[in-house]
Symmetry: D3
């Protein structure tokens, strides 16, 4: 199996961290192909960054289609561009938030997502509701800029631990979901420390990708994710025009 | 008051139709400034078109900020880019779907949105739920490509009428919401014919924009719609980098 | 445009405050006609007061119909009698709670309503759910009898401020809704102080009224709000009997 | 036990029918006291009638309090005035819709309410949601004016049967709820005919009243249903002023 | 009337306490028949105990059918086996949680269930949602093993009181539901102490059973609770095989 | 990896079919161990069968724990005993309904579950709601007794196809979920015929099991699924007593 892990921000070190997490859980016959968006924000923090990350992300999805990958994982916890990528691609596309929530839901009745910034908290609450976990998942923000997760000296880990402890004490959390692709390397150690499942979205999404491929399942092209209709795109977006649909 | 009506697709005739609808309802002291996206799809039909329309849309929002508008209306019923635009702009930004649904909700307990293509139906059902109208609004697709609405000979109006009639007969609809900016010119005649309120999103959004300006209210910059943080954007998106936040 | 602002309690000073707020936001061509209920409670605090305020309120709606107003605003945050008034009137009728919540929803993802007494808190939570804001709006009671809002020396403002501060600290509120018509004069100053949108229901409702008139929209008479059927009313209520429907 | 069955419309024959249904199910030690509102509409069909029925209804509740009843049933399926009566009375107050829905919920997972007029359908759907049965109960209107139920020659029964049959065929209904007090006499025969539980609200409410009395339970006076605060009522409503709270 | 109160755990003293509560509220013509499961756990604390209590419970339901009871109450707050018993029995079957919640719902808008162990908290939250009270009922665990309720010296009552006080202070609870059959004897004293309704599930369920019998209503055999189909059961379960359906 | 597929009914041919489906999708290093319940019903059709299947199912889970499996799949679409098994086992336990729904949710916005008998329809609707798919999944019953699926001459496949066609035509289904373990062999052929994803629960659950093992995740033992407390079990259930917790 060939699975693309595409980082929709342009920071190469985050791509590498995600690829490493992906390879750690991938099955023996799975090749992980990592890609980094070539245009857009260096990190995705809130709606505006998320919107401008889309062309860079979708360009990588298109390239991957040509390169014959069988599934793609969008390595951002906001599930930026997930619906658009599913419409575009002929292979399944997985988001970190959706994959992590459904994985947590197999292990616990109630759980807490710990994300980076307050501006992403409600966005993730809304996603969680959209995916059907509104009554089961709480969301906490640890007040960590995304790129601080790349810097061990930033104190980010302490802030993250503090919110996990509050989730266990105050939320009745039975499991923890790490709400940023940049936390992928921390999951197992935190799980050992706190004695509850700690779910990383990259790992969760890669396993969902493998599961779909093994079941010979791909995105439905009936209704919501129908192939984009052929039409003209103008200006700087001309190259993205769908040629048929 | 100066209100921007921005068409996030690149079809000039749709912009003109929206601007006309806007001017027809605007207050005496309101200037409607119409803008058409300079890059992206010629119509927005589904998630992929919607994603690639964002840079062109946000570029117009930025220009308008510099030009001193006091509110903006995104003239697409999918509310494409609404959250991103609200984060970016220092003035209120209105979407057609949200504005039309809240308007319908003031006039009727149950209503039906009639949109263009089946691929947009579930997208609008999800938006409707997100805005709190999941239990009140149904969505029907009339199987009309968006640009057919620009062509009187296309038979689009008949298809639209057929769905309105089904909404009244089968859904118990007490009002009708027209689910595409390209239908803005049809609302009043349909209202006269069917004897129930028929809501056009462009008109609804323009009046919401005026209402917010008159109340001296603008988007909260606390939490979800906080100003984008200053950061580097790379590649073709560099010009969109937020300079402060 | 002629818009009725009707106070469903019998306290004249509250009518005046509401009328003042209405006039402050009304468009240049709008005439605000203020009316005070002529029978019923001096303030509406809970379900019982609300029920007995209805005849007085509906009498004013009837008079206004005869006087040719084009829309009415019921100046009580409980939206007392809103459905009955919509059934009765041939023009749109707006409630403060509904208008304020939809206005807040255009500006923020999460917000908090601050109302007067604990007995009104759950009533407003239920209204908020009914209007589709159950997952977005919290309600806090400031322990202020309604008529204390008419007395600057009562300490009511301090109690209100305390709850706003708690909403910002504990609820993650991105905006504040003032949950009583008697707070209409405080909104702008509080907005300046706290740096988040502060919405007053009277202002919000007046602008919705103008918006509907401009769009030539009125309450649907199909289904829920059908004109009352002609029938006999007996006893002290005989004068309210609908003559046709 | 002394239980008041109060008809909030002024049609004596409906009171008698409700009283008969009440007596048929009441326990051996229960006295049913029937009362008819002395002012207001002759039938309650929609929001406007419901609003103007309140003073007449609440006057009967007050009298009953003085007469020492231990519980009251409001014999209208719209649960008109239920919250206000609960606030006023020192004894439990039951509504037909709430009592019938919770009874049906003990017998079936899915059921259908058959009511009279289309204008009441959404009102009952909203009540059903409010009581927590939104996902379990459907509502159908049989197009029967309430007072036709008093006339055996009206054809009302045939219309009612037709909707019951549609509920069984199309809704997957496992039980039927009769959605008008005026149908109380029909329940048992319909149950025999269709072989599914058919619930009458008057019967259900009387048994809930007895159940609460036997458990020495009454309405909570903490929060939502706190006793009305003492205050002045003016005009024709002066007699309703609460004297203490 | 003959009503079975069946304790699905095997602790005789809990059966007696439940029977006593049942007899205290039963009507004059009602005979309470108490039964204790003859196989399974001595107390039900969590999903595993609940699952293994089912055969013992269903055996008692079968015996009762033969013995001519007219309704049954399952005396466990988890509503263990309620759906299976309803499918099996030709008479109505009541659960404590469902009966207590609907009773509380007649008395208060918001209430709190106080149960024994944390492991039962989410189970009851899910039940509460399933019954339609997700937005009205909170659940608190008092950290009391079930059998400690049988021991006055265990300190269990103090823990229970502490949670009731927190429910009143922090949850805005207007009423309290005791979330374990073993608390049946405490309800009235706690109600006297705290001045809010305190609901015991055994009492509530017995009165619902009487109410259904008086209304000549029983479980629908159409759809969800259809009589089990005749089929072979093997191994130790052979005796449970349905003989027809 | 060693994964148990346990059939909670006692029909060996259904176990074999499930095992075959499991092996067809399992990864190269995965050993599928099939087990059939040794006591209980020959098929599970409704709540009663489901309840009596639990001891036989849990006995197999216990044996598997001793035999060192790393995860278990309960091969019944009702997710019978899932919560109890998760509490008992030290390894993850997967249900067919939950696994199939989350898989479908990765591929489509709206989908339809086609199950066997009407008596299971509402049960699956409730499960679907519980898992968060209430707004996305519809359920249809094909009127097929479970064991007819074992008989190619029964006409069951035609009934199943008819419901799939109705799902596509009337429900707007974008994917189909097969709602019975006995349909596991049909999924791929139906997917080829209808051109939409067709999900089999056994396959989905096995892949979820592998995914959790690879991620070193197991059921949380904090809260809902805490290990059963040590206690006495009496009568025929004594062998099931938890020895520690």
């Amino acid at each position: 199996m060939r699975i693309l892990v595409v980082n929709p921000n342009t920071t190469q070190s985050m791509t590498e961290k995600a690829a490493e997490a992906a390879r750690a859980v991938a099955g023996p016959g799975t090749e992980i192909i990592a890609a980094t968006s070539q245009m857009g924000p260096v990190s995705i923090e809130g709606h505006y960054d998320g919107a401008l990350a889309l062309p860079g992300l979708l360009a990588e999805i298109r390239k991957a289609e040509a390169a014959g990958v069988q599934a793609a994982v969008i390595a951002c916890f906001d599930d930026t561009g997930l619906d658009a990528a599913r419409s575009l691609a002929g292979f399944p596309v997985l988001g970190l938030c959706e994959s992590a929530l459904i994985t947590a839901g197999l292990l616990a009745q109630r759980f807490t997502v710990v994300t980076t910034l307050e501006r992403s908290r409600v966005l993730l609450e809304n996603l969680s509701r959209h995916y059907g976990f509104g009554g089961r998942a709480k969301v906490r923000a640890a007040d960590i800029p995304v790129l601080e997760l790349e810097d061990p000296a930033s104190g980010a880990l302490d802030k993250l631990r503090r919110q996990i402890e509050l989730a266990l004490e105050e939320d009745g959390a039975e499991a923890i979901v790490l709400g940023c692709a940049g936390m992928a390397d921390l999951a197992y150690a935190l799980q050992q420390d706190y004695g509850v499942p700690v779910i990383d979205g990259v790992s969760a999404a890669v396993k969902q990708a493998e599961a779909l491929i093994a079941q010979r399942l791909t995105t439905s092209k009936r209704g919501s994710y129908a192939t984009p209709l052929a039409k003209v795109y103008t200006g700087g977006m001309a190259e993205f025009a769908p040629s048929e649909g």
